[in-house]
Symmetry: C5
Subunit: 273 residues, 5 copies
């Protein structure tokens, strides 16, 4: 039995400054390279690593193929163990394409796994997660759960609204109950309900899922400010950084909010010419 | 071959005084944190452990994530090995998210497993249980079966009434036949039919499932009195304790009924100002 | 390679007198405790063991939970490895809840397995049986196959009649082809067609499945007389013994027919006051 | 790496005279004992072994239960590893009921496996076959693939005609591509199209599947003459031998065609009184 | 950790001259021997190996049965690990019929695996691929992914058009993300969109899938010229070579385009009498 927790280990690597920004980059499998068209350099993982370094982020999230072909150790790595495509139309399920042991060999400092609670395949995903959790404990590597309830009553009761406060709070709690050492959940849209989700997560730190690129820079920065005030550890952001041509600059603005606790209005004012 | 049975071992830990009260707390995954809203402190597992200690309960029931992040050894632990969410709409099934071996490492003194007999997935749950029973024997740890027939003829013949006397007696018998060392079943609503279920359970002790919080304290206390008179070992209660603001006090009233054999009317009278 | 067959081993334990009566008692999981209401003592496995001893039967059939909690070694045990409930409404399938190795540890002298040929899950049950047969060979323990074709063409061609002579003969043959060392099949209703089923079973001895309690004692005794004359090794009887208040006496009448080759009319006349 | 191929090994045992006749006898599970009614002695595997010996066949095909209870080593054995019943109504699939290792222990000189390409379960059968092929290589035992496309486009495009020249040629090729050391396919009905199927099978020898008993002896003898002329190694025949009361005599006529290359008209003329 | 990448290893064997032509020959299982009718010699794998040698190709692609029965080591081998038939009508899935370890024993220098992203069975194919990737890493053998999105939104959004630029770019990216060391994708029809797919593939080289035999030689040669100009490593061609009677000559024309960078019009002019 170790004298530290894997949550502490996670924070020591991915939240050295007390809060965390990780650059998510599994969109290549989840959405396809159309996501890269807005800023075509983003098709290249080297560009992503450079953004993460230059913007001072805590880590990147890669699928095993990207890690194997590109990871250079310059920024801590969360190896995302499973993925599905957006071409898939069946009940939500994302099968592991990499083991925890291989992730460790690929240089990962944490592993990630998405679970779609509510799906007809909920039980099968729990089977996957049980094995991964067992291996993550054995290899002493923190497990980050992407908790995204989908299908089932998310459709029939919540009209498919994955950002509904009850759905997000449930997502947080599921990740805690199933053994996550950190988690990624969607933003409810307001800090009060998000704070309840963070509370439901208990001792497990919460990263907000960045989501699609917002219309204005301000909109996203304000979301981030709100989730930090609501108690989140930080954000796992993808498109809202690398779909912007000014990715590094925008990333530094994010840093001011996440690491220095500044307000969105503050950092924008300071950044304006 | 051991000289004691795992049922005896279970009772030595969870029914030292002859009867048993365990505090159930897997609602975070089964129902979601909306269950905690009535008494918001209940979102925090530390609060739950405190109730169990202060009310003098025999144990708590946690999912593996809660146990890993919070269990402090102050009250014996039943590690619930499987769980499903209420967002899930498919044929009832609850996949294991933790192995017996991991449960032992997490400090559990017993393991719990839910089976929904009657479900289209009945056969798959039996596969899960067979492996868990095999491991529980190997690790010498008592197995508590949450026996909740659901789906199948529970719907077509019993109108979905999971408390029907025939369904509950069948639930008890299934748990005995499949190797439970203790079991948790629903209350039929009257002690005579529940006594038949307890008889069907044979040498395996029966815990009544607490269920949703009753309108009045008296209603629940009377149910508990009835199941004890019907031969149950005790109760596994959740919402009926921690959804009450006076959780510890109410827990002590339960204790008087369960451990001291008092009547509900008796303990309420004594408790009234 | 052993110098005896497992069929010989089976007969040496369960048919010492040349024929066999085993007391079946897996109804607790297959039908539920409503089966015990007619003679409420039958809810208690100790009562069942006593009947088997006092009536001089060759063995009992238990599920692993009953064996673990009650088996006292006083009568040879057939451990029934799989079971399903009558609440289940899906395509027939009965998953193993115990391994052959565990059955040996529980004191079994033979293991039993039900297969519902014709079911949409026929292939999955064959997968189960293949593993069990492999283990039974390894542990040198006879395998008794409960061969109960169900679903598929049993419905579409035979109108659900599981006692149809063609269905029963096919059942016997399937058990032989898949490696049974003994088998349990249903009675066709007449000794001529049942004799063909026994012939289809080849060198593998046949036990007739007792079925629901008949209206009169004579009806069942006559069935047993017929199957013995048709070449069966004996009967596996449950309800027709323990649903009768005069279980032991009736069991002894059965013994006269099965072991001594007497006629039903003979034993009834002798038993009448 | 061995210096011979498993195809050569197969031919050295089952085609010592250059061509092959094996007596198929898995009908007990595939069709049921109604197949034996025409010649009731055929319900007894001892009778089958005697036919094979007296007619001078190269081998018999048994399921594992028949082999275990009856095989006496007097004729080489092909152990058929999988089987399904005709009561089964679902998408075609035949699950293995015996491992290659057990087949070797049972005295087999080759193992057989049926695959129904085109079935909704095509992928699952390929999973089975992959494991069997791996084991057969390890145990140096030839693998005979019964290649019977069924379901899928065999229904929608070929109207269920399993003897269609395109279906049979595809069947032959599938067996070659998946690693068969010998194969069994259905006869197209004319030697020209069958010759193309034999050519598609490449270096893997082809046995024709005997099929249901023909109305006249001549019809079957002529089919066999045609397939031999088309390049087949021989035939795997069941009903067309043991459903005939003159099984051994008919078997010897077959031998003249298969081993001596005689014409059907020739052997019938010589056999006529 | 090795000092070279498996992509480099792949190129050192299959693209010695800087680009690659491999002769695909798994059509026997994928389409059936009707594909061989146009040039009947093509039913014989020896003919295929001869074409590959005489035309100077870099390798051949065989299923395990063809490799085992015919591979002579004269041309490097890509062992295609999975295959499905065109008789199959269900949701796209191709199960592995050979392990990586067996492929190495069969003399393979690379292994191939098809994945149909978008299929209802997408998750199951990812499970297969995860195991294969793990084994390929262990055995230090390059993995070539045939990335063919099919079913799901390929039908509902792209009308079944597997050559749609978005589908092909997604296919390339999926192969990169899942760990391919080389990949095979379909041609979009124009070099500009194909260049984006090659870009999405990142550091993983791209082979164009030859497809059905074109009406004219020129049409195919021009496609190959375009994909080379778009950055592809080369082509995996089958029918467009061996369905032509002048297979070797045509193969040499291909070689001029692929290895020498000539234009289609150039090589055709030079080849004309």
């Amino acid at each position: 039995m170790r004298t530290y927790t894997l949550t502490e280990k996670f924070k020591s690597i991915f939240a050295r400054r007390g809060h965390s920004i990780v650059l998510a980059y599994d969109h290549g499998i989840e959405h396809g390279p159309t996501d890269f068209l807005e800023n075509p350099d983003s098709v290249d993982p080297e560009y992503i690593l450079k953004i993460a370094r230059d913007a001072g982020f805590d880590g990147v999230v890669f699928q095993r193929g990207i890690a194997e072909k590109y990871y250079d150790g310059s920024v801590p790595l969360i190896l995302k163990l499973n993925g599905k495509t957006s071409l898939y139309n069946g009940a939500p399920i994302s099968a592991p394409n990499c083991t925890v042991e291989e992730a460790v060999s690929l240089g990962a400092s944490a592993v990630g796994f998405t679970i779609y609670a509510g799906s007809d395949y909920e039980w099968k995903q729990i089977e996957y997660l049980a094995q991964i959790k067992k291996d993550a404990s054995k290899f002493d590597i923190p497990l980050v759960v992407w908790s995204y309830p989908r299908g089932g009553k998310v459709d029939t009761k919540y009209n498919g609204n994955e950002h509904h406060p009850e759905v997000v709070a449930y997502a947080a709690r599921i990740a805690l109950e199933l053994g996550a050492d950190a988690m990624k959940i969607k933003y409810t849209g307001d800090p009060k309900t998000f704070a309840w989700a963070v509370r439901a997560a208990g001792r497990v730190p919460v990263l907000m899922s960045g989501g699609p690129k917002t219309k204005t820079d301000e909109e996203f920065l304000r979301q981030v400010e709100e989730v930090i005030s609501a108690g989140a550890l930080g954000v796992a952001v993808g498109r809202n950084v690398w779909q912007r041509k000014n990715a590094v600059e925008f990333g530094k603005l994010l840093g001011q909010i996440v690491y220095e606790g500044k307000k969105a209005s503050e950092v924008l004012r300071a950044a304006a010419p």
